[in-house]
């Protein structure tokens, strides 16, 4: 399969700025109450400091499959508003104290803002000016993938992950589904079709990214550390089944027989155990395995080299 759209440079240049503009205008259009508008725009400005990778993936896929309508930026803005809303909700659920604007609001306010943004995202897709059937398909896809993510987030919040297979199932739903959403909305708006190959590689990339995050959340000794929070992730699951009797305190902590105060000072010891058990090595290999599966599946599409390079630049 080859794709002939050659306007990569013109298309991707100034993309972040264009997405930001669309998102600001959509909040201004749909949030009528001044205080609501003000808080939403503040949250958006925080978001716009990030890379907007999901929205960029939407635009990239649309252009890859020969889409030419400028209204794709509105659809990509919808994707980013969806991502922002879920990010805000996640921070409330995790009681994350990172210093972002929405963590300074009362949780009920943050949830209300997020709910509104999610609804705006749907409206942008439905009313964004695309062919009605494709608009309907993209909005349906958004709600379908968010619902999948809700299921995955439930599994994550319950932390009842017995083994690696369950972890991968949870990650596919919680995280990878949103990347699938971003890529597939662009694809479907361009082609009107569901492309299973795109879903496949987007899922692999999403899983790789989540494992990468989980490796980081074991290495950083802060309030997000997954060992301290007794989170069952791929790295911690491996660690738990690899520890010897000599290092039993790790199991004791995870199973609640030790308190955080008992283990807070044992960071160096934990790092040494993670090294000697091969926890980080295993996790890194698993992450890279999924990343290479993404590369292989992407290669099967036989896209123009330039588009592949754009994709890899975003993924890297």
């Amino acid at each position: 399969m080859g794709h002939m759209n050659q306007n990569r440079g013109d298309t991707m240049a100034g993309l972040a700025e264009r997405l930001g503009q669309e998102m600001r205008e959509s909040l201004a259009a749909y949030f009528v109450l001044p205080r609501l508008q003000e808080m939403a725009q503040a949250c958006l400005e925080e978001k716009l400091q990030e890379s907007l990778l999901f929205g960029k993936m939407t635009v990239l896929h649309y252009r890859m499959f020969a889409g030419e309508d400028e209204r794709i930026y509105r659809a990509a803005a919808a994707v980013e508003l969806m991502v922002l809303s879920l990010d805000m909700i996640d921070d409330v659920q995790d009681k994350d104290n990172k210093s972002v604007v929405w963590n300074g609001y009362a949780p009920e306010i943050t949830l209300n803002l997020a709910l509104g943004m999610l609804m705006i995202a749907q409206r942008l897709l439905l009313e964004g000016g695309f062919d009605p059937e494709r608009a309907r398909q993209s909005a349906r896809l958004l709600s379908m993938q968010v619902l999948t993510a809700v299921h995955g987030q439930t599994l994550d919040l319950l932390n009842e992950i017995p083994d690696e297979e369950a972890y991968l199932d949870m990650v596919s739903q919680k995280s990878a589904a949103l990347l699938v959403c971003a890529c597939m909305i662009g694809t479907m708006l361009a082609t009107g079709e569901w492309m299973e190959q795109v879903r496949g590689y987007a899922e692999q990339l999403g899983i790789a990214a989540q494992i990468k995050n989980d490796i980081r959340d074991l290495a950083n000794w802060d309030n997000k550390n997954d060992f301290l929070n007794r989170k069952r992730t791929l790295p911690t699951l491996f660690l738990l089944q690899a520890v010897t009797d000599e290092d039993r305190w790790i199991l004791d902590y995870f199973e609640g027989r030790l308190t955080m105060e008992d283990v807070l000072h044992r960071r160096d010891e934990l790092e040494a155990i993670m090294e000697k058990t091969g926890t980080m090595l295993y996790s890194s290999v698993r992450m890279r395995t999924h990343y290479y599966r993404f590369l292989d599946l992407l290669g099967e599409l036989n896209l123009d080299v330039g588009w592949q390079e754009e994709m890899l630049a975003l993924a890297e």
Partner: protein, 59 residues
Amino acid sequence: MLKEMIQAMVKDPGSLLRAQGGQLQLAGLSDVEQRAFVDVVSKRESGSEPRLFQENVWM
């Protein structure tokens, strides 16, 4: 298979060195796992993993 292999390797540091030098048979691993394993082992010291996303959405 990968899990068992790594658990065996960490008990035998020489095997990691052999893997780094491409001298170890990685039977039982899929092609993509083999590629990933060899790359990670050879790049571990340099810390050059792909940066991937920095987004924290529901992550």
